[in-house]
C-alpha cells in the first residue's frame, strides 16, 4: 500500500540492530512503514537500479555517486559513519595491538604468517580492504591462499569463518559489536583515519521508475537527516558503545 516503502540496505546495518532501534520511531512519527531488504552492497545497488527499492542506504561512496550520475538516484546525502577495525585472536601472535598505523598492522599480519580472511565479495568493506592493502604496499600476487583467504560472503559469515580459523579480518565496528559468536576474538587494531566508514542515503529516481514512492521515500530521508533521526542514530548503543555517528547535521544534537 501507499504507506510502505522498501529500503535496500546492507547486512551490516541490519545485523547491528540499528533498524530495530530507529525504524519504530520513524514509523510512529510518520505512519509510514519501512520494509528493509538487507543484502550485499552490490546487490542493494542492483536492486535499486532495477527499481525494486524506494530508498538506498549503503556505504560505498564511489558507487553511490555513480548511481546518482547514471540517473538512478535523485541525490546522495551523507547520513552517518562509523569505522572499520581489525579483529583477531586474543593471543595476537602478529602483535597488532602494538602497531601505530593500519598499514603497519597489515604488514605485521603478513610477516606473522597468520591467516587473514577477506570478505572477497566486492562489498564496501571489501573494496576498502583492497585499498588498504595497496596503501600497505602488499601486491596482489603476494596474496596466496596460504595466508590470504577470500570468504566470498557477508560480514557475519566472514566473521564466523575468521573465528573458526583463528584468523584476522577487517570488519565494521557495528557488526562486530553486535556479533554474538566472538569466542576468543577481539578488536586488535582501531583508530586509524584510513578506517573511516561513511554511509549515504539516496532516493531512487521516480523519473526513472514511476512506481517509486517518492513522497514517502523523501519523507523517510528527510526524517533520517533531521535532528530527530540523527538523534535516534546517535542514541543506538550496544554494550555501552555508540555504533554509528550521525553526520548529516553539524553541531550538537542534544536539544
Amino acid at each position: 500500500d501507499k504507506d510502505t516503502i522498501i529500503l535496500a540496505s546492507t547486512t551490516s546495518t541490519q545485523n547491528s540492530g540499528l533498524f530495530d532501534h530507529i525504524l519504530p520511531k520513524f514509523e510512529e512519527a510518520s505512519g509510514t512503514k519501512v520494509n528493509v531488504v538487507a543484502v550485499g552492497t552490490g546487490a542493494a545497488l542492483k536492486l535499486a537500479r532495477n527499481g525494486d527499492a524506494d530508498v538506498l542506504m549503503v556505504h560505498h561512496k564511489k558507487s553511490e555517486e555513480q548511481f546518482v550520475t547514471d540517473g538512478y538516484g535523485v541525490e546522495r546525502f551523507d547520513l552517518m559513519h562509523n569505522d572499520f577495525v581489525i579483529i583477531g585472536p586474543e593471543s595476537d601472535e602478529a602483535n597488532l595491538s602494538q602497531m601505530k598505523s593500519v598499514t603497519d598492522a597489515l604488514k605485521a599480519i603478513v610477516l606473522s604468517n597468520k591467516i587473514f580472511v577477506s570478505r572477497g565479495d566486492d562489498s564496501g568493506t571489501h573494496k576498502r580492504e583492497i585499498e588498504l592493502w595497496q596503501l600497505a604496499n602488499i601486491a596482489e600476487d603476494q596474496k596466496n591462499t596460504k595466508w590470504y583467504r577470500e570468504a566470498g560472503a557477508g560480514m557475519g559469515a566472514t566473521l564466523n569463518v575468521a573465528i573458526g580459523m583463528n584468523a584476522y579480518t577487517l570488519t565494521d565496528r557495528a557488526t562486530w559489536v553486535s556479533f554474538k559468536n566472538k569466542q576468543s576474538h577481539k578488536i586488535l587494531f582501531e583508530g586509524d583515519p584510513n578506517l573511516f566508514n561513511q554511509y549515504g542515503i539516496i532516493l531512487v529516481n521516480p523519473e526513472k521508475f514511476p512506481h517509486i514512492k517518492a513522497q514517502a521515500g523523501q519523507k523517510f530521508i528527510d526524517w533520517m537527516l533531521s535532528k530527530q533521526g540523527q538523534k535516534a542514530i546517535a542514541s543506538y548503543k550496544l554494550e555501552g558503545q555508540q555504533l554509528f555517528t550521525p553526520d548529516a547535521i553539524s553541531g550538537d544534537l542534544s536539544n
Partner: protein, 235 residues
C-alpha cells in the same frame, strides 16, 4: 558443543513463552510451505501420472528434466523469479516482489520437480501391474490417472513429505524473492540465516530446532493418518 545444549534450552523456552514474533514467523513458514506443497501436488501428481503411464513424444526428455530440476539450486531459482518479478522484469507491474506470493512461486518451482520425480517412480511401478487391466477395461486417460493416483495414495505421501521438506527448509530462494522483511516475509529459514549472520548461533540453532519439531509434527500426523487408513483399506 555447549552451543547445541544451550540451543535446545533456548528452543524450549522460546516455545514455552509463546514468543509472538516466533509465532508470526512459524505461522508464515507453515502457511507458505503448505501452500507451495499443495500447489506443487496439484501440478506434480498429474504430471507424474502422465509421465508414468503414457508414451508421448518428449516424455523421456521430461523425465530427465524433472530429475535434473530436483537439483535446481535455490539461489538460481530465486534469481530467476527475481528477474521476472522485478520492476524492470516482464511481470514487474504485478508488484509481487518481496511478498509472500513471490516466495510461494519460488517454492513451487523448487518443489514440483521433487514431487514429480518421486511420484513418477512410485506410479511407474504401480502402473506396470495395472496397465493391461486398465487398457482392457478401456479406461480413459483422465480416469486412468485418477485411478492410479488414488490407488497409490499411501505410497505417494513420501513424495508430498519430501516436497514439504524442501519447501520448509529452503532459504536461498525465499531470501532473494522475499527479502527477509521483518513482519512481512520473514520465515523460519531466513530468520535462521539472519541469526547465524549475526553470530547468534544459539538462537539460530534454537530456531532450527523449532523448525524441525514443526516438521516432525506434520510428518507424524501424515504417518499416523496413512498408517490407519492403510490398515483400513488393506492397501
Amino acid at each position: 558443543m555447549n552451543d547445541i545444549w544451550e540451543a535446545l534450552l533456548k528452543a524450549v523456552s522460546l516455545v514455552l513463552t509463546l514468543d509472538t514474533d516466533l509465532l508470526e514467523i512459524v505461522g508464515l513458514s507453515l502457511q507458505l510451505s503448505l501452500t507451495a506443497v499443495g500447489i506443487s501436488l496439484l501440478i506434480g501428481l498429474p504430471l507424474a501420472a502422465l509421465l508414468a503411464l503414457t508414451k508421448f513424444p518428449g516424455r523421456k526428455i521430461l523425465i530427465v528434466a524433472t530429475n535434473v530440476f530436483m537439483g535446481l539450486p535455490p539461489v538460481v531459482v530465486g534469481l530467476i523469479v527475481y528477474v521476472i518479478l522485478s520492476r524492470s522484469g516482464p511481470l514487474g507491474v504485478l508488484g509481487l516482489l518481496f511478498t509472500p506470493t513471490a516466495m510461494v512461486i519460488a517454492q513451487v518451482i523448487l518443489v514440483i520437480p521433487i514431487v514429480t520425480a518421486i511420484s513418477r517412480q512410485v506410479l511407474e511401478d504401480y502402473h506396470q501391474e495395472y496397465d493391461e487391466l486398465l487398457t482392457s477395461l478401456g479406461v480413459s486417460k483422465m480416469r486412468r490417472i485418477s485411478a492410479l493416483l488414488w490407488d497409490a495414495r499411501f505410497a505417494l505421501t513420501t513424495a508430498g513429505l519430501a516436497g514439504f521438506g524442501r519447501a520448509a527448509s529452503e532459504v536461498g530462494a525465499v531470501m532473494i524473492v522475499g527479502g527477509n522483511i521483518d513482519h512481512l516475509t520473514r520465515v523460519m529459514t531466513t530468520a535462521i540465516a539472519l541469526e547465524s549472520r549475526k553470530g547468534d548461533l544459539v538462537m539460530a540453532l534454537a530456531l532450527g530446532i523449532v523448525l524441525i519439531t514443526l516438521a516432525l509434527g506434520i510428518n507424524l500426523a501424515a504417518y499416523l493418518i496413512t498408517e490407519t487408513a492403510k490398515r483400513r483399506y488393506a492397501a
